[in-house]
């Protein structure tokens, strides 16, 4: 189980402090799929990064399976089974897709068949990609799908995905949602997905709306989705009738 207790993260702004995360407490049950959603700049990515150790909170504690991991580094958290798919993954000159998957799996003799399975689940063909370098020759969508494949190869107990749908075409996105659905059905891992996509939100056991560094709403998709929709332009009380018609 993942537990966040009174988690805060603030940065210096002028003479004062700007709170990015403000006293967040949260529990995520083993095997569940939780979606973080909410407005841009609301703190979703910072919250997810603090779980992986990419951001060090200024207050509060993080527990993973009962162990206080608040002060553990990224590597140690990764070795405890936490994995993280970046919203904008880095590129590596000289590192091939095969090498990256091998590193992710921790198995130096990772077979082509296994690589093929991971890549197929993100809509890529191993024959076309295994020996390619993860460099600027790949499109943003390709790099993103390879990033997700590394998380699948990692086989962690807690998988965090930051906007996995961003930059991915419609066909690959459909394949990706199937993969998330299958992973969730298998029940081997806890998943936290940052997403704005209705199809991904509808897969969740629980949807958490993060805004202004706080947990604004939480509940089942059927309960939260209407609230999200009411917060869109159509639900804006300020817009005039003419503006809504545009």
């Amino acid at each position: 189980m993942l537990e966040l207790k009174h988690l805060s993260y603030a940065v210096q702004e002028g003479d004062g402090q700007l709170g990015i995360l403000n006293d967040i407490s949260l529990s995520v049950a083993d095997g569940s799929l939780v979606v973080f959603t909410g407005p841009n700049g609301g703190g979703k990515t910072t919250l997810a990064k603090s779980i992986m150790g990419l951001v060090q909170p200024t207050a509060g504690e993080i527990f993973w399976n009962g162990e206080n991991i608040t002060h553990l580094g990224i590597t140690d958290r990764a070795r405890l089974g936490i994995s993280y798919g970046f919203q904008q993954p880095p590129r590596f000159k000289g590192l091939t897709v095969r090498k990256l998957l091998t590193l992710a799996s921790g198995d130096e003799r990772l077979s082509k068949d296994r690589c093929c399975q991971y890549l197929t689940r993100v809509g890529l063909c191993a024959n076309d990609y295994l020996d390619r370098e993860v460099d600027a020759s790949l499109s943003g969508g390709e790099v993103k799908r390879i990033e997700i494949a590394t998380i699948l190869a990692r086989q962690g107990k807690l998988m965090i995905f930051d906007e996995p749908e961003a930059g991915i075409d419609l066909w690959s996105f459909a394949r990706l949602t199937e993969t998330f659905e299958q992973l969730h059905a298998a029940g081997g891992a806890t998943m936290i997905i940052i997403s704005h996509q209705e199809r991904i939100i509808s897969l969740a056991d629980e949807v958490i709306v993060v805004g202004e560094g706080r947990l604004r709403h939480r509940g089942a998709p059927a309960e939260i989705l209407p609230q999200i929709l009411s917060d869109t332009l159509g639900g804006c009380p300020v817009l005039t009738k003419e503006a809504k018609a545009l």
Partner: protein, 307 residues
């Protein structure tokens, strides 16, 4: 031949040799010949006027390999060697060179070599040259290779040079002249550390119509080492040339990269790219999320970059 553990280690490092090579070979050790074998199609003979060998590859030789590694195990040894390669028409061969220095003394060990290739029409040559230095002595390990290649019509050379580590000073000088339809692909990998210095001066002259040149240079400068690159591509006819230099800079190192392209013909199409930068922080973080320590992540990035 290969009688000590040091010899065997050096030969494995620079030429991937684990025993007696298959095919033609010449092993030069401490300025002497430590083993030689010619084949029906590849003849190796000593030069009579100066140190070095002539390698003559008969026209139509396909699928053969020629190993000509050099090892130096004596401190204070300095040599200048001239090797000439005459490759006939319609060949397809691999040539594996390389130099390893083991210096446990306090005097400088130095190998200067001039390799000149005359590659006949429609022949394809893959040329690999690895440099490596080791030893606990304070004496310097110095290598200054000069490579000159003349490609006749439709000929190609794929040249891969690697400075693995341990070379205190190097000055590389490469000149390639491409005839009509000829193609030169040069991949250069170079690592310096400590207070080492490296300089690579390269000129690809695209003389013939439809000739092509491609230079891919990747280097890593660590500690207080310094590197200078001068890759130049000259287009004298309808041709295509691409120079790409990438360097990773670390510690207190210094790198200077000065690619140049010169077009002397309206139909010449030449491109150069050069980049120097440190290891990106997001690359390290990504690999750490895969369970690598920061040091392991750094090694992995450097190994991949120089692979």
């Amino acid at each position: 031949m290969m009688d000590t553990a040091i010899d065997r280690e050096l030969l494995e490092k620079i030429a991937d040799l684990l025993g007696k090579p298959v095919g033609a070979f010449n092993i030069r050790k401490d300025s002497g010949c430590d083993g030689r074998q010619s084949t029906e199609h590849i003849q190796i003979t000593s030069k009579e006027d100066k140190p070095g060998i002539d390698i003559r590859i008969q026209p139509g030789t396909v699928g053969e390999t020629c190993h000509i590694p050099v090892i130096i195990t004596k401190s204070g040894l300095s040599e200048m060697v001239y090797n000439d390669f005459y490759v006939g028409e319609n060949c397809d061969v691999d040539i594996v060179a390389g130099c390893g220095i083991h210096n446990c003394g306090d005097q400088e060990s130095r190998h200067d070599g001039v390799h000149t290739f005359y590659i006949g029409k429609h022949s394809h040559v893959r040329y690999t040259e690895k440099h490596y230095g080791e030893g606990t002595g304070t004496g310097g390990r110095v290598m200054n290779p000069q490579t000159v290649v003349y490609l006749e019509e439709g000929a190609t050379i794929q040249m891969e040079t690697v400075q693995i580590r341990g070379i205190d000073s190097t000055k590389r000088d490469t000149k390639i002249v491409c005839g009509p339809g000829a193609e030169a692909i040069i991949t250069e990998r170079l690592l310096t550390h400590g207070d080492q210095t490296a300089e690579s001066d390269m000129e690809i002259i695209l003389d013939g119509e439809d000739s092509k040149g491609r230079v891919i240079s990747r280097s890593v400068a660590q500690d207080e080492s310094s590197q200078v690159f001068y890759p130049r591509m000259v287009g004298n006819a309808k041709c295509f040339g691409h120079v790409q230099c990438d360097s990773i800079i670390m510690g207190g190192a210094k790198i200077k990269s000065i690619p140049a392209i010169t077009a002397n013909c309206m139909e010449a199409q030449l491109i150069h790219e050069a980049a120097i930068g440190k290891i990106a922080g997001d690359q390290l973080l990504k690999l750490e999320t895969l369970g690598l320590t920061e040091e392991e992540a750094e090694d992995c990035i450097l190994q991949g970059f120089l692979a």
